[in-house]
């Protein structure tokens, strides 16, 4: 009896001493503490929402849509009606059952004028959502869309509990109640936001007991935190930071080709950048290959000609954009800047290489008589205070399918139309492309849109990045996929944090 008591006590002590595995991930504090748990809010806290809420459709290993809360889907021949068959026996963190009503609510609220979500421009193709039965939902579109599942694969189109959100389509819903692998314990975007594993997660056992999202605004500080063992994972390593981890057995480095880009944005409505000749002259002055090598290292990028569609996308257009200093000078002279042009560029350490990219372009553009004055801005709060507020500024986008990025960033009515690009013809062509059922014709239309952006647009996208991440060797199960497709629930952690 005494022995069994001692044994029980020993087991209890050992059990209490065993640390619960906590996956600790930094977040950039890009909204300065205004991060929102509503997935479609402009200030969405995406590191949190991707772990709390689930999507209908998620990106598979091959980049194609794969099952998540919807197990299967089919379309009518004209691709105007899409029926999704939902996963049964799924519950929200508050034990409410997940049903087709929640899908209808979650999809229709993306079009709310009151919320004015960045997803509105992309999702306004939806006319209505019909609930067929608790596990079947039909989405009726205003026009045909051959790639509609790609749209609902968006990292923000998450399924919310309609009841918890009060069934109010026009209000933000920041409950943090989803069907995802982690449920929120404490929301503190300026400090540490904590989560615990959701035991009824439909996707099986979650790899770690807890998840912490720790606010660290500065990339160098994040690197130092990983080296010191204060966090387990960092995204977006620069080429110079890779050697800090590459040959260290305590860390794993993963490099993945993606459609992610860091770029510079010219507001097409503000002088002197409202003149397409000026914008093109700036773009023509760049030696993209040299820029890529200087900023991201020789293996860290694939050059682009300011088209936001990456090389792994089926709709990527082939455009040639060699450096042309004489051509740039001629365009400037034509625009009335024969003696040169001076513009201010607002930059911050918001994404890997943003400041260095600005410095390199500054150096290259001066050969064309363009003086770019860099204006440093603080990283924390950048997305609220500088981005889309200044005429010329740095930006960063994660990988998106062609239709989504073209609609989200370049449609006249898009909330995140960062170049203020306003073109009814472009919008009409966007509609025509997504409605076109013939693949070759659709590809040709998407190609024309990208060429239009190269000729007249306001984006400077010199390269698409290989995203490089480093993480503790204690982690296993980190899939080599782009950042928004990482399945944190599949990551396990061995050993304690000391």
């Amino acid at each position: 009896m005494k022995k069994s008591l001692l044994l029980s006590a020993a087991i209890a002590v050992l059990g209490a001493a065993a640390p619960a595995e906590t996956l600790r991930i930094p977040h950039e504090l890009g909204y300065g503490g205004s991060e929102s748990m509503d997935p479609i809010s402009p200030q969405r806290f995406y590191e949190a929402i991707q772990n709390v809420y689930s999507r209908l459709v998620r990106q598979g290993d091959d980049g194609r849509p794969s099952a998540d809360l919807a197990l299967s889907w089919e379309a009518t021949p004209d691709a105007r009606e899409w029926t999704f068959n939902l996963r049964p026996d799924v519950t929200f963190h508050n034990a409410n059952a997940f049903t087709a009503e929640d899908v209808a609510f979650s999809l229709m609220r993306t079009q709310s004028e009151a919320i004015d979500s960045p997803t509105k421009g992309v999702m306004e193709v939806i006319d209505r959502v019909e609930v067929i039965d608790p596990l079947t939902v039909k989405v009726v579109l205003k026009q045909s869309h051959a790639d509609f599942p790609l749209l609902v694969m968006d990292y923000r189109i998450r399924m919310l509990d309609a009841e918890t959100c009060g069934n109010d389509l026009d209000a933000l819903c920041e409950s943090g109640v989803g069907t995802g692998p982690f449920q929120m314990v404490d929301f503190d975007p300026l400090g540490t936001t904590t989560f615990t594993r959701f035991d009824n997660y439909y996707g099986g056992t979650v790899g770690t007991e807890n998840l912490e999202l720790i606010a660290i605004a500065d990339q160098d500080a994040r690197v130092a935190a990983l080296q010191a063992g204060q966090i387990d994972f960092i995204y977006a390593l620069s080429a110079e930071q890779v050697p800090l981890f590459a040959n260290n057995p305590n860390f794993t480095v993963q490099s993945v080709p993606t459609g992610r880009w860091v770029g510079l944005v010219m507001n097409t409505q503000i002088e002197p950048l409202n003149d397409p000749r000026v914008r093109k002259a700036i773009r023509m002055s760049a030696d993209r290959d040299a820029l890529g090598k200087l900023v991201y290292g020789k293996d860290g990028y694939i050059t682009s000609c300011d088209h936001p569609v990456w090389s792994g996308d089926q709709y990527r257009a082939e455009i040639d954009c060699p450096r042309d200093i004489e051509g740039a000078k001629a365009l400037l002279a034509e625009a009335g800047y024969a003696d040169g042009l001076t513009v201010e560029l607002f930059v911050s350490d918001i994404s890997e290489g943003a400041v260095k990219m600005a410095e390199v372009l500054q150096n290259q553009a001066k050969d064309a008589g363009i003086t770019i004055e860099l204006v440093p801005a603080p990283a924390d709060g950048y997305w609220g205070d500088v981005w889309m507020k200044e005429p010329f500024f740095a930006t960063g986008w994660s990988q998106r399918p062609a239709d989504q990025i073209l609609n989200e960033a370049y449609r006249s009515s898009a909330t995140w139309n960062e170049t203020a690009w306003t073109s009814p013809d472009f919008d009409a062509k966007l509609d025509a492309a997504r409605s076109e059922l013939d693949f070759d014709k659709r590809k040709a239309l998407y190609g024309e849109l990208q060429k239009e952006l190269w000729e007249n647009g306001g984006s400077f996208i010199p390269v698409h990045l290989n995203t490089v991440r480093a993480f503790s060797a204690k982690l296993s199960g980190v899939q080599p996929v782009e950042d928004f497709s990482i399945r944190y629930e599949g990551i396990a952690k061995s050993g304690s944090d000391s």
């Binding site: 800090l244 260095k356 204006v375």
Partner: protein
């Protein structure tokens, strides 16, 4: 003046300080002739090269020659902070002499205001002003000059009170001399040595402040070669490419040490004890 320089140079600390300061000033002035490369020239094939016979101090993350950037790196900092030190010494010195001479309630009230300014965390205040007014020399020089001038005022006012109590000032007042002639003819000549030493000391501190501002992104802007900015840009690579941080730090600290030693030696040559900053 020549005698003062000879006196300073005769002291070991003065000789070291004078040499370091002169070297830096000459390096800044002669940078276009001394630097082997254009300090802003980027080279994709020469990123983060270790020190070698081609690049004596190595190269940075954009393939720029660190030696050339270190040589150029003091130009803006020295020019801006020297101008700011002159501003601080002039206004702080004049105000200190004025309040030390006038005394009474005016002095009391003024000193409470000075105390209030001295209690302000100056770096935060500086960042606030620069974020409103911009990061150029037009904003930084008067801002640094004002904040460091407050401390000059405090020190000079203390010394001025002692001078004001001397017999020749009492005699001047008895002769019916006005305040302005007393300040300019009697007080200033007797406090010029303190002003000189204070100016030099504040200059060295301003160098550190300016580099801090550049480090934080509020001083020099890219691609300007500047020590503080160089440290900020390369600080993440301390364990793999320390030369990007080490050389600008060495340049900055050697200049600050040089100016401090020089100021110390000048003070001693003029018969001042820097611990109390009054004539001994």
């Amino acid at each position: 003046m020549l005698a003062l320089i000879q006196n300073v140079a005769a002291r070991p600390s003065g000789a070291i300080g004078l040499t370091l300061t002169l070297c830096h000033v000459l390096m800044a002035v002669l940078a276009p002739w001394l630097a082997p490369y254009d300090p802003t020239m980027q080279n994709a094939d020469a990123i983060l090269l270790a020190p070698s016979s081609t690049h004596w101090m190595g190269t940075d993350t954009l393939g720029r020659d660190v030696f050339s950037r270190v040589i150029y790196g003091g130009r803006l900092a020295i020019a801006v902070t020297f101008a700011a030190a002159v501003v601080a010494t002039l206004w702080g010195g004049f105000a200190g002499i004025f309040f030390g001479t006038v005394g009474g309630r005016v002095d009391e009230y003024a000193m409470r205001i000075v105390d209030a300014f001295l209690s302000v965390p100056w770096l935060l205040f500086l960042l606030l002003i620069i974020s409103i007014g911009g990061a150029g020399p037009v904003t930084i020089i008067p801002t640094l000059g004002f904040f460091y001038g407050v401390a000059v005022l405090r020190v000079v006012r203390g010394a001025a009170m002692q001078v004001a109590a001397r017999d020749f000032i009492t005699a001047a007042k008895a002769r019916g001399e006005k305040l302005w002639p007393i300040i300019t003819r009697e007080m200033f000549p007797n406090l010029s040595d303190i002003l000189l030493v204070e100016g030099a000391m504040r200059w060295s501190w301003m160098l550190l402040a300016f580099s801090s501002l550049s480090f934080l992104g509020f001083g020099a802007t890219p691609p300007t070669p500047d020590w503080g900015l160089m440290v900020a840009q390369e600080r993440g690579l301390l364990s793999t490419a320390p030369w990007g941080v080490f050389w600008p730090c060495l340049a900055l600290s050697s200049l600050i040490i040089g100016i401090n030693l020089l100021a110390d030696a000048v003070g001693k040559a003029l018969g001042l004890d820097r611990a109390t900053a009054i004539a001994v």
